[in-house]
Amino acid sequence: RVPRQVKTIITKETKPHIQELSIKTTIISRYAFTAVYCSLLNRYPAASEGVFQFQIPANAYISNFTMIIGGRVYQSEVKPKEKRVKQERGKSGTKEPGDASPEPEVEVFRMAAKIPGRNRAVFLLTYEELLQRRLGRYEHVTSLRPMQLVSRLSLDVTIVDHSPITDLEVLPLRNGKSNAAANTATAPKPPNIPAKPELPITTVIKNEKNVCKITFSPNIIQQAKITTSGILGDFVIRYDVQRDMGIGDIQVLNGHFVHYFAPKDLPAVPKNVVFVIDTSASMLGTKIRQTKDALFTILRDLRPGDNFNFISFSNKIKVWQPNRLVPVTPLNIRDAKKFIYMLAPTGGTNIDGAIRTGSSLLRDYLLGPDSSPNSVSLIIFLTDGRPTVGEIQSVAILGNTRSAVQEKFCIFTIGIGNDVDYRLLERMALENCGMMRRINEEADASAMLKGFYNEIGTPLLSDIRINYTENSVQYVTQNLFTNYFNGSEIVVAGKLTNESAESLHVQVTASNNDKSIILETDVPLRNRQIDTEKHVKLATSAMATGVRALGTDATQKLGVALGSVAEDFVERVWGFLSIKEGLRSRLRSQTSKDREGHTQQATNLSMTYHFLTPLTNIAVEKPEVLTDGTMAPAPTITPGAGEATSPANDLPGDTDDREPQTPDRDLNSQALSQSNTIGKVVRRPTKKFITFSKTSADGD
């Protein structure tokens, strides 16, 4: 029985309604392939516009979009974006249009198409994402917002990993704005907040050692109990994989390799941290209150070996402890709390002055006798607006910052709200081996800020270098990193120059406190390829099992969509990472020639892997519907005839997404991406047997 209210809602609907929405995700070794199948039915004789809208994680790239309307297939094409035409604004030195625009919170894919009368339209969308490890977990988010009740709604997520899967969590449906943005800070798990009631019978979890399957398929009544608006929220899965203090997980497939490095059981490295906090007038109210709350909590989490200081800035810049950093002691913590308590928002925003003051403070401290050579130094910079006082030109601010930092420490930036120049903050972080996070206007800034601090509050390794046998690899993504933080993961991918080589020697060197650490291994390439193939087979068969339950049409299409890309997932990881790296390098470029080079590289990669990125557009032919509601006959294709295309559904903004690991400062003067130059590795035999004195006590 369908409740009367639900029946009424359905009969009132005149637009095409969603008959089926099936989402299938397979995550193979943290690389998530998602295929969305949506069928809309126009039950009326007249043609009507059907809208397919789907929210995808900001870190993901769309890899395909297809429409099937009236029996015809409309396949999308990815094309490079045209160069932006410069608009003349009169004043020189003004920012390019769009530079100051706010970063998109989420990426929403929307396609509207006319559906002929009494006909169906099927929309098939695929996207890919390399899950990032934050706070010790990988998080996969699927947006379930069909905007209406759906007769057949299902979500299947299959996780397959080389290492055993641990700590799998399916969170209650998460609602609220913008939960899927890549640069959004993550709140730590709130301890005593009761979970939103879940519908247990609709979420099924099957958990084996290396394979987990999660299914969520609420029927229409169950959906209505959650909400009748069709905005169910985000379905969030979190998990981790088993790891140890080894060289990590290296997978090899069809001439490519990917290396996941996230060692554990390491002691924390002491840190020197300067907090630079915006106290301009716009921070008044909730923002400053939540910021203070977070800072009080952060103070409690500082460790005895850490040193710290606070700077607040508006028009004026106030330094809590002039000319030094202070150690973490109960007295200093108490005094710091007083300083934070007394922060009072007023005035403008002098970002340039604040960063230069903080940098000078930290730089002088590091030159002094009190600083430990084995500590990690960072600035945590928080603002809710654009520069309005002092130097306000981004280029100048960035230049001043680089000169002040002198590659001696890293800057982590946090923006709160919609008025922030996120491009400036992102560049500031990227150019200074840091990360940027965005806290949305309506979000709980206290939790987000605390979450971001947790991501970087426990450095475990510094000066990490990952090297592979010379001349055995090429096009390796970034392999030098300034810091490795507890709860994160470093991912490196590349191509093998000789697939038939017997092994690949891998060496990781890093520092932890006063210790230098070297990890080495020889990866037997053939065996590893066989291992990785096994996991791909496991994933594809797990995919097939889930998909069979959906029904013939969805089965076929989702299966085809996912199966083919999964077989080359290591190469796609490499492509994905290389594009991200290219976009980062592009953002960091100092010259237009440099920028153009990175743009071209990243565009070529986007085209190769058919990714919709900030450098490409996706174009799809629009179906033509006649006045009687039927489809127009298929056009005769003549060479050179232009095709009618719908407006390019390009993603807003021209931005870079956050990266899974802290980028290194430019240790070389050239960009690190796409480099063919790999650090030399002296091969050491792994089974070296040392003989010397016979004096010993050994087994019988």
Partner: protein, 241 residues
């Protein structure tokens, strides 16, 4: 465990067995007051293989090293992992090839093979990892302890192995008495120890060494007796008030 002591200056090798009890902790190298180094080994038991004259065998399941200079550090080695405790703790899995260098102290693991601990550049110990993929009932994962470089250990060094590092030994023949054949004795530390010739396999069986074997838990060969080398806990350096 089978103990082997090489006397390079004397050009001979002595060996003895220690038949301890599972759970006993033996003092292998004790030089806490001088170089600051102490090495202990903990025993586990296993049934003897069929056909053996013994009831049980004992092996080293854990080797611990305490280093006092320049800073106090504790190293615990088992067939599965190495725990290095200094100002902070690092746990290293024995299946990985990894090295950690803290200046005067370094630990290097060759995955699934051996662990080398180097102190101050002139003291080094190598611990072999004996791991069984499909162990028989009488087989246990265990460790072998080898002294690599003892130049930094003092002449006052003691312990089941340490006491011999700077000693010189000689062989002497006792004349036959009555019907008994002439016998050989080892002259060490002003003592005469009856010995017989044997051979031992070391370095995971890759090398065979001929040695003069002292019976009966090394009676008269070692200073005192077996129970004098039992330590009260893994990191006992023997400094009791």
């Amino acid at each position: 465990p089978h103990f082997v002591v090489e006397f390079p200056l004397s050009k001979l090798t002595v060996c003895f067995n220690i038949n301890g009890e599972p759970g006993h902790i033996l003092g292998l190298v004790s030089d806490h007051k001088y170089s600051g180094v102490t090495v202990n080994g903990k025993l586990i038991g296993a049934p003897a293989p069929p056909g053996s004259h013994k009831q049980q065998r004992t092996y080293f399941s854990t080797i611990t090293i305490v280093v006092d200079k320049p800073q106090r550090a504790y190293i615990e080695v088992t067939p599965k992992k190495v725990i290095l405790d200094g100002r902070d703790r690092i746990v290293l899995p024995c299946h990985s090839t990894v090295s950690v260098d803290c200046g005067a102290l370094s630990v290097a693991i060759v995955g699934n093979s051996n662990v080398t601990v180097t102190v101050g550049g002139n003291i080094s110990f190598v611990i072999l990892l004996h791991q069984y993929k499909n162990p028989a009932p009488y087989q246990r994962d265990h460790l072998g302890f080898y002294i690599g470089n003892n130049k930094g250990l003092s002449h006052n060094c003691h312990g089941l192995l340490g006491q011999f590092l700077y000693e010189e030994v000689g062989l002497a023949e006792l004349p036959a008495q009555g019907d008994t054949k002439p016998s050989l004795v080892l002259k060490v530390k002003n003592r005469s120890v009856p010995v017989v010739q044997k051979s031992r396999r070391i370095y995971s069986g890759t090398q065979s060494v001929d040695c003069w074997f002292a019976r009966n838990n090394a009676a008269k060969l070692i200073d005192g007796e077996y129970k004098d080398y039992l330590m009260s806990h893994m990191f006992d350096t023997g400094d009791w008030p």
